[in-house]
Symmetry: C2
Subunit: 912 residues, 2 copies
């Protein structure tokens, strides 16, 4: 490592690094270097590379000495350059160079790691600064801040748990009490002196050592503490949530201090080159006069608007007169027009240079502007789309960049109603579950699907259906509810899947929720809620709020449409939708779906009274009895299909034959069973016995899918007849159908052979009856691992493949998605799994089986049409994977269609 | 096809075919040809090839005309040769050639297809035969037999269902009634004439046609009916049961008749070159004087023993004096010493020539011996072993042939107690279930495991445990029962697997059995049995008998040991056993197991009172509570392992860490839950709630395997400590251990990484405590499909692989073995699946994943030890597959060890 450069100087429009070196210098360090190179005023400093962080962690007992040995010579050289530029001396109490020490990793992790300001102060240096600045209070304020930060962070005096108090805060409180004041602003220079004295005494008492006076000692302590903070709990959690690898490490940037707290010609602030909420092309931000960086975010003083336009908008919203505003809430534009002018030009320069909306920090010291940081700004989904489209119009970026600039998952925000932000801020969070289906919902608690119907349909109230978990029987109740909350089940539980399909807000797997169906109550953290109580669900965060929280509907802008049509220009894969009703189909077409990839015929079985016929069919003693009941279902199914074919108007429609275990369709309570018995003219005992007979130990791996159609061929016959007759009926209205009949759960080609025989025979019979034909294809779901292994055999018979990655994931990993709650959270926490494999496709396991399935399938049938209809079809990284294995299309729930379209376009661009 | 030979003549020591042509000529035709070639006296004839059967079925409306057109010229030539040899003329009433027509496929299917004798007779020819033979009764007896056979078989007059009577039998009954006689033997020539008259009238009436008088017409009718009989229900079923492919087809052998019914110098019989039951090298068989072939088997007359030795043994067993025997039951050896001498020499010749025990049919016509058939004889498992070893000693066959001669599955018969054959014959069969675990059991019905203990342990009675299905809680009860009968569950259900492991007789999935636990009764076909009633189970056939049926213990002969040591000389794979107790381990070692491939630690959890501590651990609120309970389990588990290590005395032992879902260990009845609550000082509600919380929708895919050890590392810690401490303890007694600690259900390498970390850390801690070390390895089950896909990653950490093919089959095919009852029988019947994949390894699906797993695993770790510990490890064809993918060992239940050893040896020989 001897020839490796470990310290990168920057300052005065030169820099040893540059903006591309984010891996080595972190985002902050790289951008500080780049800003220097393009002439933006930045206080001089240097960045210690992320490799030194790695080096630090290589040593079991801490790599302090090793790191110091490696970087000291280079640090000395860099400091000498800073000294030359600033005219000060490091570790010289007569003319001290004060420094800040900040973290900065490859990805932005705001607030997660430690920062030290005002480094270099001690009892002597502070006097020099007081004299030089003519501002004793400023000098001692800076000193006491430094001692506290250093004590808390470097010397580890900040208590780990919030139960214990910070010793420094205790001292501050004591002094304020003694002085009879409540505001920090009222503390005098003398107070700060006393504060520093007591701080240092506390340090001595708690650590056994004097507070370090040597600048080098202070520097090394600070640098190491930044390295250590890479592994603090907050940072670990943040990385986990944001998929940032641990091995990246953090860089450390050491920079000459500039002071926004030197008096009324000094200020500090944060600004954005555009509006982060709406995307409007409007420079904006907040500042404070005579303040240091952290004061703006700390909320002790209310920051002011930077631009006059911003200040006026603010005043209008706050109902403040222009007169009062001008007096009490002036903009930086008004207060320091010159510095503002420079700031405005700089932010414009930075945005144009980096070709993206910037989030910047600055300090004005005695009227002179210094930029401390710039980075691509975080923004809402709406802003993301608007900015991408605007910048494309402005010719700031090209089409591919505009597409890549948008994060597919964030489109979701645009599609569902959302909570009013201020309402959320003041809402009481009861618990947090999984963000199963985005959106915002407020309503009254009900515990049974039929109650939901009563409340919502009969009374016209908004109901939130609260269940331990939902089942297909709850479908109608779910449909009429404003939102769904379940105590069990993951992101792909029944509740979650159905809710997303409906575009309905759902929080699933909220483990703290205890439900007692008998008393119709639920308990969260000791508080009991009863039927009719108001709660609100945030399906985008998983939060459950007490009471009502105001919502606002999402609006789709023209920018959205512009982005979508751009994706079509680049995407190779088509995007279809999973839709079981004409209504779903229409929503999806509105979002640009190019066909239906999955219609679950069984969902229709719960509509209206047809469930009675379904149950009659299931409980029949023999084929004759089943055929009788199926004959009743035929016209209803045919009607369903006609509706869907009409809605899709010529686009391809994949219809899956009956899939779930029959157990799901029969009633399980004594009351319902007795009703059913009466209706069917059977004894209750007979019904009960038959229902019990349907019980399975592992229904997921039981009598379902094509196993139903192969044991009861008459079901396949009826469904085929309904499909084909519907296609012939709509043909009369001039609608061309492209039906793809899909056989589920095939693991052995002969299963498909048998089903295809029935389908072809039935279709031929109908064609003969009607004297007319329509096109149709017969294909299969690939969702059993064995199907991927024998895909070549299956493709000899199947005319298309559709990967059912929900089940394929369940079987390949051996994970029941209904039962993962006991171990998946632990696995994610321990890092045994990086993602929930039901959310993000497991490329290594499930993915390689899919790749193999496509390869083998196409080896047997050239150009075999392959798609995906599992939940993953709407998840961006999974969509990307589907592109890499050359699927022809992805299919997802209607509200995920735009996300999939964007992801599909990005996948192509990434492959280029 | 013009150059293809379709008819193969044989006769007078020449033949166009030979014994190797079984595929083309069927077993019978090929052996008849070969017998001619080696000079054995065989009536001349010809064989029509199996290809003509295929040709016949190629034509949708029956291939009669096509087949006749193809074979007639060749048949004419062959018949001319027969005429020359016999001095008779086909289709010439003045000197008729009479023929037999028999089926014969590649594999023997005794009695499954049709046979026609005495073909060529008509009203004129019969007179000629009467004159020539001087035996009018014989001639007309032959004629009436022919008309009946031909009418039944060729003209289809045999009613399909047993509800309707055979019209010919009705006529025979009428005539006997009119004549006032009951025995066929009392029918005169005149009676037969009248019979023929009425038979022909019946034919005319039922078919509208006269009975054919033309020999050609009779021949073609008979040949086609043999082809048709290939697809009769009996034959289809037999092929299914014996895995004979439909496409093989049958050959037809047409042969000059010889008559055993020409008077007292004629006879017919069946004989075996050795004893088919015991394997003793003793020529034996049965004969009848003045009879035709089918009379010997028809049971109308009691056949006599062929040899004097046989006759004397028979008399002794029947308590018949030598005087009476000599008078009433003479042997062929005594009655026709000359013909007997020729027969004795011939059978010896045939056995020596074919180097296998022969099953032969012969006819003596006027003192002249004719052989009609020879084939390898079916034999019991015991006979199979003895004959193979004897013939090796006799240098008749070499070692490889001796090994290949033994069918591994049949060894099973030798290992379990068996029913006395005569007792079975007279027993009443109540129902039939699956032959889940072989053996014979007689006992009194109990319905609860604890009742089994009461009856068996307290009262010392033999109990048969009857359950809808069993669960691990029933283990003790199963252990003390004589046998187990379940109404649900397949060959790999809990009951079946555990019973086989115990070597205990079990009939599972007897669907006709209705159990009412409340009244402690079961009903089979309307008959109700109560607790205490006697029943008997045949675990080798699945039959359930009423009452007691006498059994006999199996005896293992020296021949068995000789065969086993022979297998060791050839087998490449080692054979280990699945054993959970020292007793199991000892049994397996007795059978030659070379180690333990699977010890299921959880089975130990049910022993004695430790289940209480297990439940305490499961219901604990936190880690501290779990550790407390685990501390109680530690000494018990350690003791278990010590016992096993001692029993295995230096052989390797694979110990699997806790695998099943915790739900299996907790009580589910209110009574038991209340008891547990009282014991643990909890409320009943708490216990109930916790048990409910453990409920899973698909426990197979839920919180189990290493997911337990990764969520509750303290369990892995305790188990590792128990293993390592046990190993150190037995080391003091001079026993070297080779422990292989096996982590179950790994699908992602990090799961194993975490478990291995705990294991290694715990082992290191124990070594440090004791100041002593033992060797151990850490490996994993490969039972999740993802594990096979990522086997290279896993092998970086795992020191060995063991394929858990039970679970791997469940997940690869998506079949829950507890729930396949609803569709697997249909799949097998329809031929969608050829075998139950839980019995015979699915090579195409599961097998290719295994092959890939081995390949990838060894690519990452050279020479990685790979084994199998699923149920398939004891199934011969699966063992063969394991050899082809280069596994190092198979592991199976103790009673299957010999089977696996034999299969492993055969696999090697087959690969050569």
């Amino acid at each position: 490592m001897s020839n490796v450069k470990r310290v990168y100087f920057f300052g005065n429009k030169t820099a040893e690094g540059n903006g591309k070196m984010k891996e080595l210098l972190g985002g902050k360090g790289a951008n500080l270097a780049e800003m220097n190179l393009i002439g933006v005023p930045v206080p001089p400093g240097f960045t210690i590379t992320t490799e030194m962080c790695t080096e630090y962690y290589k040593h079991k007992d801490g790599g302090r000495e090793a790191v110091i040995k490696l970087i000291k010579p280079e640090a000395e050289r860099a400091i000498a350059q800073i000294e030359a530029l600033t005219g000060t001396k490091f570790n010289d109490n007569g003319n001290p160079l004060l420094m800040s020490v900040r973290s900065g990793s490859r990805a932005s992790m705001p607030g997660m790691m430690d920062t030290i300001l005002n480094l270099g102060l001690n009892d002597e240096a502070v006097e020099t600064i007081a004299k030089k600045s003519g501002n004793e209070r400023f000098a001692w304020d800076s000193y006491r801040r430094f001692v506290q930060m250093y004590g808390d962070v470097v010397l580890g005096m900040k208590p780990e748990s919030a139960e214990h108090e910070d010793p420094f805060e205790v001292i501050i409180d004591h002094i304020k009490e003694e002085r009879g004041i409540t505001n920090d602003a009222d503390l005098t220079a003398e107070d700060f002196k006393e504060m520093v004295r007591r701080f240092k005494a506390a340090v001595k008492q708690q650590t056994g050592n004097d507070f370090p006076t040597d600048s080098w000692e202070q520097l090394w302590g600070s640098v190491m503490s930044v390295f250590r903070s890479w592994m603090n709990d907050r940072a670990i959690l943040y990385r986990k949530l944001n998929n940032i690898p641990e091995e990246w490490g953090t860089a450390v940037t050491v920079q000459a201090m500039v002071f926004g707290n030197m008096g009324d010609t000094s200020a500090t602030g944060v600004c954005f080159s555009r509006d982060a909420a709406t995307g409007e092309n409007l420079f904006n931000g907040e500042y404070l006069v005579n303040a240091q960086g952290e004061d703006v975010v700390a909320g002790i003083r209310t920051p002011l608007q930077i631009t006059l336009e911003g200040a006026r908008r603010w005043a209008e919203a706050q109902n403040v007169s222009e007169e009062v505003r001008g007096r009490d809430f002036p903009s930086l534009e008004e207060v320091m027009p010159e510095a503002y002018g420079e700031l405005y030009a700089t932010q414009k320069h930075l945005e144009t240079y980096f070709t993206d909306m910037q989030d910047m920090e600055f300090t004005i010291q005695n009227g002179k502007l210094w930029m401390l940081q710039t980075r691509a700004a975080k923004r809402t989904g709406a802003a993301m789309v608007k900015i991408a489209v605007d910048m494309l119009d402005e010719k700031l970026i090209d089409e591919k960049t505009a597409i890549m600039r948008c994060e597919p998952a964030k489109l979701d925000e645009l599609l569902h109603p959302v909570f009013d932000k201020s309402a959320v801020a003041s809402a009481k969070v009861l618990t947090k579950g999984l963000p199963a289906s985005p959106g915002a919902a407020t309503g009254q608690i009900v515990f049974f699907a039929e109650d939901a119907e009563k409340w919502a349909v009969d009374k016209g109230e908004k109901a939130i259906l609260v269940r331990i978990e939902t089942s297909p029987e709850d479908l109608k109740g779910m449909h009429v509810s404003a939102g769904i909350l379940t105590a069990r089940g993951g992101m792909t539980s029944h509740a979650a899947v159905v809710a997303r399909g409906m575009g309905k807000c759902c929080v699933s797997g909220a483990g703290d929720v205890r439900i007692d169906y008998r008393t119709r109550t639920m308990t969260i953290g000791g508080v009991t809620f009863k039927e009719g109580d108001w709660i609100s669900l945030n399906g985008s965060t998983g939060e459950v709020y007490e009471g009502k929280v105001a919502t606002q509907a999402a609006e789709l802008s023209g920018d959205f449409a512009a982005l979508m049509s751009l994706t079509d220009k680049y995407a190779r894969m088509k995007v279809r939708t999973n839709a079981d009703t004409p209504a779903d189909a229409r929503v999806a077409i509105g979002f640009g779906a190019q066909g239906i990839g999955l219609t679950r015929t069984e969902h229709m079985f719960f509509e209206g009274d047809r469930i009675v016929s379904v149950r009659e069919m299931i409980l029949a003693d023999d084929e004759a009895g089943r055929r009788l009941a199926l004959a009743k279902l035929l016209p209803m199914q045919r009607g369903d299909f006609e509706g869907i074919f009409e809605a899709m108007n010529g686009l391809p429609v994949t219809v899956r034959l009956l899939d779930p275990p029959l157990h799901e369709f029969v009633p399980h309570t004594e009351k319902e069973q007795k009703e059913l018995a009466a209706h069917l003219g059977l004894t209750y005992e007979t019904v009960r016995a038959k229902v019990e007979d349907l019980h399975e130990v592992n229904p997921m791996l039981g009598h379902r899918g094509c196993r139903l159609g192969n044991t009861y061929p008459e079901i396949t016959e009826m469904q085929t007849r309904a499909i084909i007759e519907a296609a012939l009926n709509v043909k009369k209205k001039g609608i061309v159908t492209h039906v793809e009949i899909m056989v589920p759960l095939v693991g052995e080609v002969k299963e498909l052979v048998y089903q295809k025989r029935i389908i072809d025979l039935t279709a031929a019979t109908v064609f003969a009856e009607r004297g007319e034909k329509v096109d149709y294809m017969v294909g299969t779901m690939i969702e059993v691992p064995r199907a991927t292994v024998t895909a070549d055999e299956i493709a000899e018979v199947a005319e298309f493949f559709s990967f059912g990655t929900n089940d394929l994931t369940q079987m390949t990993l051996g994970f029941s998605r209904d039962d993962i709650g006991k171990f998946l959270p632990v696995y994610l926490e321990k890092g045994i799994l990086e993602h929930d494999p039901f959310q993000i496709l497991d490329r290594v396991g499930v993915g390689s089986l899919m790749r193999e399935g496509v390869r083998k399938g196409r080896s047997a049938r050239h150009g075999l049409k392959c798609g995906i209809c599992g939940e993953h079809g709407g998840e961006p990284s999974s969509v990307e994977f589907c592109d890499t294995i050359d699927l022809d299309y992805v299919s997802c729930s209607p509200f995920r269609v735009p996300i999939a379209r964007l992801a599909a376009a990005q996948a192509v661009i990434k492959r280029q």
